[in-house]
Symmetry: D2
Subunit: 338 residues, 4 copies
C-alpha cells in the first residue's frame, strides 16, 4: 500500500520531489499538488499523473486522501504550512529553511511540542548523501578521534543577480550550518563572516565569496568558503580534522578520462546532480519512516545560526548565536544521524 | 498503480530483488514468490509482506495477479522458466545467465522471436552502474575515438571451494563478456584463457587467477583478469583505450581518510555494495519499462562466448565463438544502451 | 670547477645541507663547516670529507677558500652571520627565518642595500617544490583567474613539548607566510589567529591547532591550519581559489596500494621526505646562480608578518603588519619565482 | 674530487646525459664527448664547457683523463664500445639496449666475465624512478604477497613514421622486459604478441598498439600494452597483483586543477619529463658507485627476451626465450634492486 503524499510548491524543488516520489521512491504516491501559480501545479499534475490540484495549500493539507506533506514553496510560507501540517497531525517534509526567522522557527517547534509527536522533517538532504553519511558514521565510531576543525567549501557555478550577500548566508551556508552541527553533534555558538575582495563575476555590491567561521559549544572551529559565482562547477568540499586524522569528501565522479594531456574527472554542474542520491535517500527514508533526518529542533537551530551569521555579515564582527535550551523532547538533537 | 511482480528464487539474489522491489523501487509490488525450498520462499514472503507463496514456479508464472516475473533461481532452471514467461506473454527479468548453454539460450531466443515481442531482460546490471553508463555515453559520443583495447579486472575477495575453474568463466567473466560487447557495440568472436600459477588461496586444482583475452569482430582486444580469491576487496576495473585517449572507472569510495601515515579509500567487500545503485537502477528501469537493458540476444551471445571461453580454458587454445546471425528483430543489438 | 661552500651549523638542517651539497648537487663542494658544538662539526666533516672545521663561524665566513656560505645555525645567530657574509661580499643561503625580529631582518636588508648587490637567499625551499612551482606558474599564466582565497594546512605528526604556541607561528606558519606572498605576488597586511580547543596531544597550555587568517594588500584571504601534533603524517595542503577555478597540491605519493579493503597512498612522515626534491632544487639553483629564490626583502617581509601574527595570537585580535616601503632595489619583490 | 666522464653520442640521449652530469649530478664532470657527427659533439662541448671532443669514440674510451664512459650512441655501436670500455677497465653506463642481438649482448657479457669485475651498467633508468623503486621495495617486503600478474601500459603520444612494428618491441617494450624481471626477481621464459586492429594514427602496416604477454619462470604473467601513437600523453602504467593485494603507479602530477567543469591532472608529454628524476638518480648512483642498477646480465637477458618477442610478433605464436644459465658471477641477478 503506497503512502499518499501531497506536495506544496511546483517550482524547481517541488517538481524535483514530485518526480522522485513518482519515479524513484518505493511505497509513495503523489496524490495532490498545489502552487501559488495554478498553471505550475497543473503542469506537474499532468506530468506525473497526479489526481488532484489544490488552489490553496491549506486545502491540500486538509485533503483527507493526503497522508503526508512535502513543503517546497517559498521560504516565507514554510511556517504557516508546517504549523498547519502539525495541527492536522500529518508528517511533513519541509524544505530548508524551516522558517524565515529564528522566532518563526521557534513557533513551528512550539507547535510540534504542543502536538507531542515528531512530525517535522527538515530537508537537509546532505545527511543522506553517501559521502556525508559515511563521514558521520566514521566520526561517531571515533576513527579520527575528537574533531577539532571542519573545512568546508560550497561553490555554485553561478547565481542570478538577485542572489545577494545575505542569501549566500541564508540559502547557501545554511547547508553547512546543519552539516557541521550534525557531523560534530554540537551546537554552533558563534559566527564570523570575512569578506575578501569579491569576484568580478559577482553582481555589484555582492560579497562573493564569503569566508564564514563557526565556533561550536565545545570549541571546535568550522570554516566555510561560500562562493556562488565560482564558475567552474558545483563543488562541495568537507574535511573534518580530528585528533588522529582527517576524513574528507572526495570529488564524486563516475569515470576518469585521459585525453589531451590530462587525466580528468568531471564535476557536477548543479546540486540536483551532486545530491541526486541524497534526495532519493531522504525521500525514501521519510516515506518508509525509517529515519527522521533533521528535526524541527535542527531547523530551529539552523535558523538561529543563520540569523547570527547575517548579523555577523552586517556588522563585520563575531556574533553569538541566541539559542533557547533544547527541550528534552529533542534529546538526541543533532547527534542522531539521518 | 503498482506493477505486480512475481519473484522466482528466494536465495541471495532473489532476496536482493525482493528487498529492492519492496523498498527502493517506485511503482512495484512483489505479490508472489516461489523457491524450491518452501521455507526460503516463506521467509522472504514474511519479511516483505508478500501475499502468495507458490510451491511451483510455473504456478507463479501463470498466477493471474502476477504481471511480470523476476527469475533468480539456479541457472539450470532459467531456460524453462523464461520460455514459460514468454509463452504467458509476461515481461521477465532473468538473472544472468539467460541459460546454461548456447543451445538453451537459443531456444529462449526462438521463443521470443515466435512471440514477436521483446519480453526478456537479462540481468547484466552493470549497464545501469553510473560509472559504466557514463563510460558508455562518452564512448558513443566519440570522446576517445574508436576503441582499440579494453582492460578489465574482476576481483572477488573469496569464493567457496566449490567455485571451480569453469565457474570463473561462466559466473565471473560472463559480466565482462556483456560489458565488452555493450561498451564497444561489437560481438566477441574469439576467446583465449591464460592460466598463471594459481594463488595459494585457491582450492586445489582451481585456476585462479585467470587471464582471458577476447577479440571482437572489428579486431579490438579485451583482456580480463578474473581473480576470485583476491582477498583484499571486491574490485572491478575497466579501462577502454581509444585512438585519442582512455576512459576508466575510478575506485568508488564515499570518503577519504588520512590516518596512520596513509590517505585511504575504502573498497567494497561484496558485489551488492559495489553495484547497489546498479541493481536499483536496473529494476527501476525494468519496472518503468523505460529501458530494455540486455536483451535475449545479448543473453544468447553471452552464452555463446561463455561456451567458447570454457573450451579455451580446457584446450589451452584460442577458440572461435559460434554465433548465429543476429535476427533483424534485435537490430539494435548490443549497441543499445540500458 | 666546483663552487666552494662553507656551512655554518651542523645540526639537523646543517647536516641535511652538507649531505645534499656533497651528494646530490652539481658543481658544489663543502670545504668548511662550523658549529657551536665542535664535535657536531667534526662529525659532519668526517662524514662528508670536509677539509676544514672552524670553531668560530666568522672565521668560516672569512676563510679565503670559502666562496659562498650556508647558514643553518639557530635563528638567533642569523642576523650577525648574514651581515658578516654580506660585508665579506659572499653569497649566502640563510635558513629561515632571515632574522629573529622584524628589526633584525631590516638590518640585514640594510646591509645588503649598502652592499648594493643581491647576496642573500632565504631558505624558503617550497618555492622549489615541483607542486608549488607548477602552481605558481599556472597562477602567473592566469589559468584560474585572479586569486581570491588560499586554503592551507601545515601538519606535523608531532613536535617536542618545548615547541610552544608562538613557535607554531614563527617556525611553522612562517612557510605559509612566504608561500602566500610568493604565490599571489602580494604583501600580507593583516593577521588574525583563532585558537580552537587544543588537541589532547598538545603540551599543556599550547594552542595546537591554530587557525591563522591573512589578508593581502589586494583583499585576498589566506587561511592556514597549523597543526603540529596531527599524529597521522607530515601533510602540507595548499589550494588557491581564483575567479575561474582552483589549483591544489595533491598528496604526493609514489605508489598506490590496494590491500585489506583499502586503496591507500602513503603520506610522508617528515619534511625532509616531503620536500627532499625542493631542497635539492633550491641548493642546485643557488649553486648555479640561476635563480634567486626568496630575497632579503622576502625574509624581512616574513619577519614582519611573523611579528604581527604573534601579536595577533597574544591579543586575540586582528593585527596590521608593519612593513616599510619596498626599496626599488627589490622591485620584482615576491613576484619573482624561484 | 669529481669523477671524469666521457660521453659517446651527442644526440638526444647523449645530450640529456651531458646536461644532467654537468648540472644536476654531484661529483661528476664531463671531460670528453664524441659523436659520429663532429658538429653535434662540438655543440654539446660548447654548451657544457667540455674540454675535449674526440672524432673517434675509441679515442675517447682510451683517453687517459676519462675515468668512466657513458654510451649513448646508436644501438648498433653498443657492443663494440662496451667491450672496449671493459677491456680498458673503465666503468661504463650503456644506454639500453646493451647490444642489438642476444649474441652480441652475450659477447659483452663474456668480456665482462673475462675481465672479472662488474664494469657495465645498463641504462634501464626506471629502476631509479621513485614510484618503481617504492613498488620494488614493497614487493620485496612481501606487502602484497607472492606476485601473480603484472599489468603494464607504455604509451607515447606519437612516434616518427619510421618507427616500425619491431621497434615497438625492441625500443619500447624493452623497458617493461627489464621492469618485470626486476620487480619480480624472475626471468621471462616465454613471449606472445597480440596485434589488435591498429590505430588510424599509426603509419601504414605498423602494428600499433601491440599487446605483449610474458610468462616468467615461476608462472607469473605480465601483460604490456605498447601504444606509441596514443596521442593524449606519455603515460606509463604498472600494477603488480599479488596474493594479498596490488601495488600500482599513480599518475605523477604536481598539481590538480579544477576548471571548466573538471578536476584535472596534467600528464607528461615526453619520457624526459616523466623519468627526469629517474635519470638523475641513475646517474648519481652510477657516479657515486653506490648502486649497480641493471647489470650486463640484465642487458643480456633483455636482449634474449627482445629477440623472442620479435619472433613472436613475426610468427603470431608464443616463443620461448633462449637464455643461457646465469653465471654465478651475476648471482644476485635481477633480484638486486638498483
Amino acid at each position: 500500500m503506497n503512502r499518499r503524499i501531497g506536495v506544496i510548491g511546483a517550482g524547481l524543488m517541488g517538481l524535483t520531489h514530485v518526480r522522485l516520489l513518482s519515479g524513484a521512491v518505493s511505497g509513495a504516491e503523489v496524490v495532490a499538488v498545489s502552487d501559488a501559480l495554478p498553471e505550475a501545479a497543473e503542469r506537474a499534475a499532468a506530468e506525473a499523473g497526479i489526481e488532484t490540484v489544490h488552489g490553496d495549500a491549506f486545502d491540500l493539507i486538509h485533503d483527507e486522501r493526503v497522508e503526508a506533506v512535502v513543503i517546497a514553496s517559498p521560504a516565507a510560507t514554510h511556517e504557516a504550512f508546517a504549523v498547519a501540517c502539525i495541527e492536522a497531525r500529518k508528517p511533513v517534509l519541509c524544505e530548508k529553511p524551516l522558517a524565515e526567522t529564528r522566532d518563526a522557527a521557534r513557533r513551528v517547534l512550539d507547535a510540534e511540542l504542543a502536538a507531542g509527536s515528531r512530525l517535522v522533517h527538515v530537508g537537509f538532504m546532505r545527511r543522506f548523501d553517501p559521502g556525508y553519511a559515511d563521514m558521520k558514521a566514521k566520526l561517531d565510531a571515533g576513527l579520527v578521534g575528537r574533531p577539532l576543525l571542519v573545512h568546508c567549501a560550497h561553490r555554485n557555478p553561478v547565481v542570478p543577480p538577485s542572489f545577494g550577500s545575505e542569501m549566500i548566508v541564508t540559502d547557501t551556508v545554511v547547508h553547512e550550518m546543519d552539516a557541521v552541527r550534525w557531523l560534530l553533534g554540537q551546537e554552533i555558538v558563534r559566527a564570523t563572516v570575512l569578506t575578501p575582495r569579491p569576484t568580478s563575476h559577482a553582481a555589484d555590491g555582492v560579497h562573493d565569496p564569503q569566508f564564514v567561521i563557526f565556533e561550536t559549544e565545545d570549541g571546535a572551529l568550522a570554516d566555510v568558503e561560500a562562493f556562488v559565482n565560482a564558475r567552474y562547477a558545483y563543488d562541495i568540499r568537507c574535511e573534518v580534522v580530528g585528533e588522529l586524522g582527517t576524513i574528507a569528501l572526495p570529488p564524486a565522479t563516475p569515470v576518469l578520462v585521459r585525453r589531451d594531456g590530462r587525466e580528468a574527472a568531471e564535476l557536477p554542474d548543479r546540486f540536483q546532480e551532486r545530491f541526486g542520491a541524497a534526495y532519493v535517500g531522504e525521500l525514501q527514508a521519510w516515506v518508509a519512516g525509517t529515519a527522521t533526518g533533521a528535526s524541527a529542533w535542527d531547523g530551529y537551530a539552523a535558523a538561529a545560526v543563520s540569523e547570527a551569521t547575517v548579523e555577523a555579515l552586517r556588522s563585520g564582527r563575531a556574533m553569538d548565536v541566541a539559542l533557547d535550551p533544547r527541550p528534552d523532547f529533542y534529546a538526541a538533537g543533532p547527534r542522531t544521524a539521518g
